[in-house]
Symmetry: C2
Amino acid sequence: MKEIEYIDTKLNNFKIRYAQENDVSIILEFIKELASYEKLNDQVVATEDILKRSLFDRKVAEVLIGEYDCKPVCYAIFFYNFSTFTGKPGIYLEDIYVKPEYRNKGIGKIILTYIAKLATDRDCSRFEWACLDWNEPSINFYKSLGAVPMDEWTVYRLEGDSIKKLAEKF
Amino acid sequence: MKEIEYIDTKLNNFKIRYAQENDVSIILEFIKELASYEKLNDQVVATEDILKRSLFDRKVAEVLIGEYDCKPVCYAIFFYNFSTFTGKPGIYLEDIYVKPEYRNKGIGKIILTYIAKLATDRDCSRFEWACLDWNEPSINFYKSLGAVPMDEWTVYRLEGDSIKKLAEKF
């Protein structure tokens, strides 16, 4: 994996690179900022050690960092999902976040376009992500890229104690 | 990976095992039956070759098969997702299906309980799946297991040509 994936000379040398292990504190900072924007701060229990283990030891997801003016200003975290209907993997984007002061420059679109290209290069049949229903600016942006809302589906979740409670019945 | 994961002597020796490469035709048959139940038959474009490559060469998902009376009667397909808020992987259940004539025996619950146990054994923070909003029997069943609907989120999807169209802008 090359360190630098993309440089945009027209956008102040905006650079996309894969995160390395020593980026873990920046990643956690981004996660907390995004959670704060989503009004979900209380749900962040990740620590640098936990992220290090998941992202760099177990490698369960990939992380891109975007740099503007040589400063990290955005990140994206994604992993493979799988569609039985197409029989192929897809890319699921867990998080995308651009720092407020760097918005409206086209950075979010460059990152999403880059991941769409990864999806085609990697023979993925879908590129998906979830968005909060009140987040209208993001929803309009996603629709402008051609994304379609899966309105008829709802995700069901077991978490923490509710997983343990079910697991204990086995 | 052991071939047989579980035998239930009280349920006609109901057996759970990991699917092997030569199960690919059974898996495709199950996928088509589930799509038919979901009224989404036209969306199944997977073939045995495509599934073989994704599931057994690329290993992007794991498949469990349940056997009753020595016949395959159900399947479950799942993969790791990742939560930035917890910093840990989760298990995402793409498909679970029990043949109609084998329902109401507790088979679906055994499979879900088994995967919940896998989730705890593998240090996963969440166990999730999606359900169609009109599928009330399944929704009630999932809620009875403690699952919570993520009502405030919607998944957005790019697929096929819409991915290519976006990727070409890169």
